[in-house]
Subunit: 217 residues, 2 copies
């Protein structure tokens, strides 16, 4: 991690920001400055991701919009994924999580995904962020577009990369419907008897559905 190019702000990690933020060494600048830079970048990032989507937004455009040196964006957020996760207030890097789950191959992938998702949502911080995403998703406007873009270009794309099939994106999208529905029913709507089901029971029911969708057929 290089030193910050201008203003040398304290690493974002020290301010309790998202774990996706880079934590290199650097001399702290004045407190007001440090807060402004990170906040300005995030504010512009949310605007641009909303208006142009994940693919159409460059770190340079975000830096230009925030009036900061382009190198400050990776300094604070690592890369565009990290910036996106921070803009969505996601405390985890979804791509890394998905890669971990698929690292053990397709055998049993359905149950592993169901268990990972349940565990993540049951974590207070992650769960709150995911419910925030779903709130944004049901609005109309930029927030909805950011979430759609995130699911299409980060979540579904990450799943699809691990599926060697022409209909990989369709399989991944079908799996996403079951994941979103499970999250909605158990954690957002909090419908019984979904809430009182054990994680093992939930995984035993939802896992085979995800397995079928991801394997295709």
């Amino acid at each position: 991690m290089p030193s910050p190019p201008i203003r040398r702000p304290r690493p974002a990690r020290a301010e309790g920001s998202s774990p996706g933020a880079a934590g290199g060494p650097g001399r702290p600048g004045p407190r007001a400055d440090r807060d402004d830079v990170r906040g300005d970048i995030l504010r512009v990032a949310r605007e641009l991701f909303g208006a142009r989507g994940f693919k159409g937004t460059t770190m340079r455009a975000v830096a230009d919009g925030a009036g900061v040196d382009v190198a400050l964006v990776p300094y604070y957020f690592g890369n565009k994924d990290g910036l996106f996760a921070a803009a969505l207030e996601l405390p985890i890097d979804p791509r890394t999580k998905i890669d971990e789950v698929f690292a053990q191959g397709l055998d049993g992938i359905g149950e592993r995904i169901a268990r990972t998702m349940a565990t993540l949502i049951e974590d207070e911080t992650v769960g709150r962020a995911m419910i925030g995403l779903m709130r944004s998703a049901v609005t109309e406007g930029p927030a909805h577009d950011v979430v759609r873009d995130f699911i299409e270009n980060v979540i579904i794309e990450s799943y699809a990369r691990h599926l060697d099939a022409p209909d990989a994106r369709q399989r991944a999208a079908l799996a996403a419907t079951q994941i979103v529905g499970m999250a909605m029913g158990r954690y957002v709507l909090r419908i019984e008897p979904l809430v009182s089901m054990s994680t093992d029971e939930l995984v035993a029911h939802i896992g085979p559905t995800l397995q079928r969708y991801l394997e295709g057929g």
Copy 2:
């Protein structure tokens, strides 16, 4: 349908209200009165359903809250289901739809439900109401509680009544997760390739999941 007990308002149907409303004969009262009564009943119904849930809300309590004769509630809304559907601005009676789908037995029920749901949501009026429900569902507070109550006590209960099994409610709730997820992905988030899938394709993928959940095992 008896004549309205007081004020003899014009049947609600003539005012373009929900199809669940009763449409018996009756002499019209002054326009301002008619609007107030129906609107007052709905306003109080939303409050009470939110605070006490579907089961804890009686038509009498709603009438008392609105300061109208108790017979005016069934006059405008038929029964408590109709009142609830109107409070949720649902243009269909979900119980009737569910009964229709199950009338042909459990064989092929998964595909029939998937097709019925897709068709309903693709109807502009019904779709808008369903998306409104999902918006309420992701909020915190009375609106969330009304939707949860509706799904637990109307939707899941209606499904479960048709499933002769000790775990009927669990099966129904699992099916609900897939239905909600499909609706969220295709119609609320509008994620590709879910949106461009034909209804037949969608039914072919989602149907077997619903079938497995509802049959159990």
